[in-house]
């Protein structure tokens, strides 16, 4: 019984946080089309709030995030597509605003870097495992010794 009594305040405390985080970015935006609403919800998760380092604009209560949500809403409700909104934002705030940076010369290393490291790692791994000098030749005396041991087993 004491376990349950102990759990209740903890549960309530957790619920308190849950309700807060999900309420962070509810604006009363009305959409005439569920597709537009879905696009809006997707976009506010893809755009970084530039003043709060690592939050998307959907998650932040910063003034700038509110403004960017309003701007996103205006563009989406006008019927603009995802590309248009992402272009609009990155033209103004740079690639940093996009959580999934696009492939261009300055982000090339970001995209292919991990693969380069993987290739180097695999290359080194193969080299270390299959070093020819490490192979100890199996001699006749070894063979005789092995046979002796096997016979003893039987």
């Amino acid at each position: 019984m004491w376990v349950r009594r102990g759990l209740l305040p903890v549960t309530l405390l957790l619920l308190f946080f849950v309700s807060f985080s999900s309420q962070a970015a509810i604006d009363a935006y009305q959409f005439d089309d569920p597709e537009k609403e879905a696009l809006y919800k997707k976009l506010i998760k893809e755009l970084r709030c530039t003043v709060c380092q690592n939050q998307d604009i959907g998650d932040s209560n910063a003034e700038l995030a509110k403004d960017l949500r309003r701007k996103t809403y205006e563009m989406v409700s006008k019927g603009e597509d995802e590309e248009f909104v992402l272009d609009y934002m990155s033209q103004r705030y740079g690639d940093f605003v996009l959580y999934r940076p696009r492939l261009n010369t300055s982000t090339l290393m970001l995209w292919i870097g991990p693969f380069i490291i993987l290739i180097i790692a695999v290359f080194l791994l193969i080299r270390f495992i299959r070093r020819p000098g490490d192979e100890v030749p199996f001699t006749e005396t070894d063979k005789a010794q092995a046979e002796q041991l096997l016979e003893r087993e039987e």
Binding site: D67, K71, R92, Y93
Partner: protein, 177 residues
């Protein structure tokens, strides 16, 4: 000996990268505007809302746009620098009164002095978004062709004015001449 040299080299490379990483300011976001045409605006003037000023009106001159607001604490600190810059007479400074109540903005200028050629009202912050403003104060240098040549995020300081903005303005003026 060679056994130890390779891990040591890897370690040194790692330390160098981490040291560079520590020096980088994650709050500094490179502006995508430098070298590109400034975004357009057409806004009412703070002290005379009937009058409007647009970016087209300002073409043909080198000018600065200083984004400020009465609620912005670092703008207050920056204000003396702006006044000193304007007194040098190198280029006119236009203010963008960003997300502010007009009365508050006017009161702020009345109390601290008004170095601006004019301040433009961006009450809902739409022009701010168009200009990629994310941290007030911000300052842009726009050349005669309407191209953004410099952007300062955060307050101007005397050394930024003397070492960056003034030399840039001189450079722009020799280009045109």
């Amino acid at each position: 000996m060679k056994r130890y040299l390779i891990p040591l080299a890897v370690f040194i490379v790692l330390v160098v990268f981490l040291a560079i990483g520590l020096k980088l300011d994650p709050k500094h976001i490179p502006s995508p505007f430098i070298g590109k045409p400034a975004p357009q605006f057409d806004l009412p003037v703070l002290h005379n809302p009937q009058q409007r000023i647009s970016t087209a009106d300002l073409k043909g001159q080198v000018w600065l746009l200083n984004v400020w607001a009465s609620w912005c604490v670092s703008c207050r600190a920056e204000h003396d620098v702006v006044k000193r810059f304007v007194a040098m007479g190198e280029a006119p400074v236009y203010g963008l009164n960003y997300k502010d109540k007009p009365e508050d903005g006017k009161g702020w200028l009345a109390a601290l002095g008004n170095p601006y050629k004019a301040s433009l009202m961006d009450i809902n912050g739409d022009v701010g978004i168009d200009w990629g403003v994310y941290g007030v104060p911000e300052t842009f240098v726009i050349d005669k062709e309407g191209i953004v040549r410099y952007k300062q995020v955060g307050p101007l300081t005397d050394s930024i004015v003397d070492e960056k903005i003034i030399p840039l303005l001189r450079e722009i003026n020799t280009e045109a001449g």
